[in-house]
Amino acid sequence: MDDVVCTRGLVKAFGRTRALDGVDLTVKRGEVHGFLGPNGAGKSTTIRILLGLLRKDAGEVTLLGGDPWRDAVTLHRRLAYVPGDVHLWPNLTGGEAIDLLCELRGSADRRRRDELVERFQLDPTKRCSTYSKGNRQKVAIVAGLAADVELYLLDEPTSGLDPLMETVFQDVVLHLREAGATVLLSSHILAEAEALCDTVSIIREGRVVESGTLAELRHLTRTSIQVTAERPMADLALLPGVHVVTAGDDGRSAGLEVDAARLGAVIEHLGAHGVLTLTCSPPTLEELFLRHYSDELATLQDHDALVTLHSRGGAQES
């Protein structure tokens, strides 16, 4: 079976709140699948159903060919889980917690465990109560990634890690992919998904609204272009498919965003003005993301708020 994770119309309600409202999610064997969405979109709830911790209210779900609720224990031997919000036993040391979780799963690679402890610069002799959030996160990451399993379920695994450690994390995940493992990586940090994922699903208010490879999804978005020319470029904003225009230098320099389908026509138009410099950037996931939240953005009235959101989305969360 090629689909490691497959859900169809997954529904989960907590009281009156419908946390999941028909989630369709497919993760194929061997891919790193990004599961993107803001806080409260249903990422963790979906993963907890995949882990058999929560019981689905409706829909279909298969994990590694089994039923995650019924076959939880046998499936868990074949997967590793890293939660985003790590709670550990205050009087155990980090090393003890790692060994315990590895041993309970039943697959522990002692050498890999020690190597990861080293790479993440974790002091395993400290009590969990004395760890910072980032260090608690490292404990969960080491305990999860030291496992030699088919599937890794990572729920916002890098929250609290510093940028250096995030790089180490990305490196380790890429190694897992090379080794043929499947990874489901939930995140709201887009740079992370861009760096790691082959495919992504975007979840919003309990529904997957977009799913595909990064290349496919980029078709849905706009390319940004910075251009300077010999002659003033008039009426750029009137061209079909052109969205944001900033003009300067008496119209001889401009910044614009162009729909993928109209890119060719726009480039031709620019060419007629004697292009001096031209910079094209492919759409970032961030823009993809923002488009799906345009409803919410519309409620943000002033431009400042938009700018803040843009810059925050790109920065490393810490």
Binding site: V86, H87, L88, W89, L100
Partner: protein, 543 residues
């Protein structure tokens, strides 16, 4: 900005959080006081009867140890002597829990840090917790007084009775405030306050036992150990008899001293840490930790060893005075008549041992409940989730904790009985009867504690949100039924709800199989219900 900035807001926050819990405690304690007096008034209307009962209570070592010093023949005084121990224990628990909830528990959950970053002084949280709890006890004292006045008792005595209850609450609020500074976990702080309560009870039990009867014949003058215990102070107020108002000074002085110590300690530590700094530990888990049972044992062993030590000490202490009861009773015909009715085959010492094991049994059930509720704590703090995401199935995870709860309960009751029997044997040379009887009694009591434990397991599986409330509520109800059930003249059908009602009064009565098997069956059925229910519900923080 002073270190107390924001206290008023925090008090309002605390009152909002406790708007149901504290009133519920206060109503329950007042209701108990009122019910005790009402039933006492109904059965003891006759002065001659009260004289006989008070004379009996003054001379009866068991009444001295387990109730308190007899204080005359006034209806109010006698009913307070009977009811006070339970009122005091409940007031102490209410207060200690409230202080821990608003101090150490907030720190543990990280809420304190959030508050501390706002415009809130360093001492504001502790001050707010103290004010809320001391205030709640003031209300409690007035409410108890009101309940007694409503029972047609004198206002002065009623106020003195209210003082004696509120004073206990104040002192244990102070004890909990200190414990919350010293221990880094809410559980540790609660356990320390509980240990202090046990010690206070024991001190006054010894003091009252070795006191002497006043010339009137209806009053016990307690020996000095009673004066070392705040519970002892509450009894020495002797409401409706002497109304010793000056004891309010003892309560207030000790409370202020304890709160002051808590503030000083708070100055010398960081938010979130205790006084004892965490040391580093092993980088790798020992083989013993690498299993579900290993983890459960690691999490529960401190609780188990602490309770074990406490109960064995109590067993030894109670056992050491066993023989004195025989000597003190002498030829008390009334007690012999009661003995003949309750346990025709037993001796006075046997009856004393049966009462002692009943106290230890309900105390051990506190351990059972605490260990089992740890499952819920693991779940709500999010620590269960990573464990269940491994190849550990839900039933075996629960079974580890249940095994530690049940085996631990039985072991500590047997050892407490053994300790009592051994001390008794060493003092009298009658080894076999003491040890044999007390070990059997320990086993019998542990069956009742397990039945109560079964209820906790079932609640955890079926109604996890209510598990804590149900568990402690059931324990408190069992305590009230066991200690005051007869006095309150509760119908047998109600008394039968408490598993401890069904425990034969070993060694005064024979250890019969039927009730024991019944209790074990109840424990088993409830446990299975809980195990099955947990398999079918959501697990984790949201459940």
């Amino acid at each position: 900005m002073s270190t107390l900035t924001g206290t008023v807001r925090l008090i309002r926050l605390g009152l909002r959080r406790d708007r149901i819990l504290l009133p519920a405690w206060i109503v329950a304690i007042c209701g108990l006081a009122w019910a005790t007096v009402a039933s006492y008034a109904a059965t003891m209307s006759d002065e001659a009867q009260r004289l006989a009962t008070a004379t009996f209570a003054a001379g009866n070592p068991m009444a001295r140890m387990f109730d308190g010093p007899a204080s005359g023949t006034e209806l109010g005084a006698m009913s307070m002597v009977e009811a006070f121990k339970v009122l005091a224990i409940l007031a102490a628990l209410m207060s200690a829990q409230a202080v821990v909830r608003h101090t150490r528990q907030d720190e543990e959950a990280g809420r304190a840090e959030l508050l501390g970053s706002a415009v809130v002084g360093r001492h504001a949280r502790l001050m707010a917790a103290s004010v809320i709890t001391l205030g709640a006890n003031l209300v409690l004292g007035l409410a108890v007084a009101g309940a007694l006045v409503a029972s047609d008792l004198g206002t002065t005595g009623a106020l003195a009775a209210g003082l004696s209850v509120a004073g206990i609450g104040w002192v244990f609020a102070g004890v909990a405030a200190v414990a919350s500074q010293v221990f880094a976990t809410a559980r540790g702080a609660s356990a320390a306050a509980g240990a202090a309560l046990g010690l206070a009870f024991l001190l006054r039990a010894v003091g009252d036992l070795f006191g002497h009867i006043a010339d009137s014949g209806v009053q016990v003058i307690s020996a000095w150990p009673s004066w070392l215990s705040p519970i002892g102070w509450g009894q020495q107020v002797r409401p409706f008899q002497e109304n010793n108002w000056w004891i309010a000074g003892l309560f207030a002085g000790l409370t202020l001293a304890l709160v002051w110590v808590a503030f000083v300690l708070a100055d010398h530590r960081d938010v979130g840490s205790g006084m004892v700094q965490a040391r580093t530990g092993p980088a790798h888990a020992a083989p013993g930790l690498r299993s579900g049972l290993g983890l459960a044992w690691r999490l529960q062993r401190t609780t188990l060893l602490t309770w074990l030590g406490g109960l064995v000490l109590m067993g030894a202490a109670f056992g050491s005075v066993g023989q004195s009861t025989e000597d003190l009773v002498g030829e008390n015909d009334q007690l012999r008549a009661i003995l003949a009715r309750v346990a025709p085959a037993g001796t006075v010492v046997d009856l004393y041992f049966a009462l002692m094991m009943a106290i230890l049994g309900i105390a051990a059930a506190g351990y059972t409940v605490q260990v089992l509720l740890r499952m819920r704590a693991e779940e709500t703090t999010g620590r269960l989730e990573p464990v269940l995401a491994t190849a550990v199935d839900r039933q075996s995870w629960m079974a580890s904790h249940i095994a530690i709860a049940f085996v631990g309960t039985a072991v500590m009751l047997v050892l407490a009985g053994l300790a009592g029997g051994a001390v008794h044997g060493a003092m009298t040379g009658r080894w076999s009867e003491g040890i044999g009887g007390l070990v059997a009694a320990g086993l019998a009591q542990s069956c009742a504690a397990m039945a109560l434990g079964g209820l906790v397991v079932a609640a955890f599986g079926l109604v996890p949100r209510w598990a804590g409330t149900l568990a402690w509520g059931a324990l408190a109800a069992s305590l009230v039924m066991g200690q005051l059930g007869g006095l309150l003249e509760l119908p047998q059908a109600v008394l039968n709800l408490s598993p401890f009602t069904h425990v034969p009064a070993v060694p005064a009565a024979a250890l019969t199989a039927t009730p024991i098997l019944g209790l074990l069956a109840a424990a088993a059925v409830l446990t299975v219900v809980g195990l099955l229910a947990f398999r079918h519900r959501d697990a984790g923080v949201v459940a």
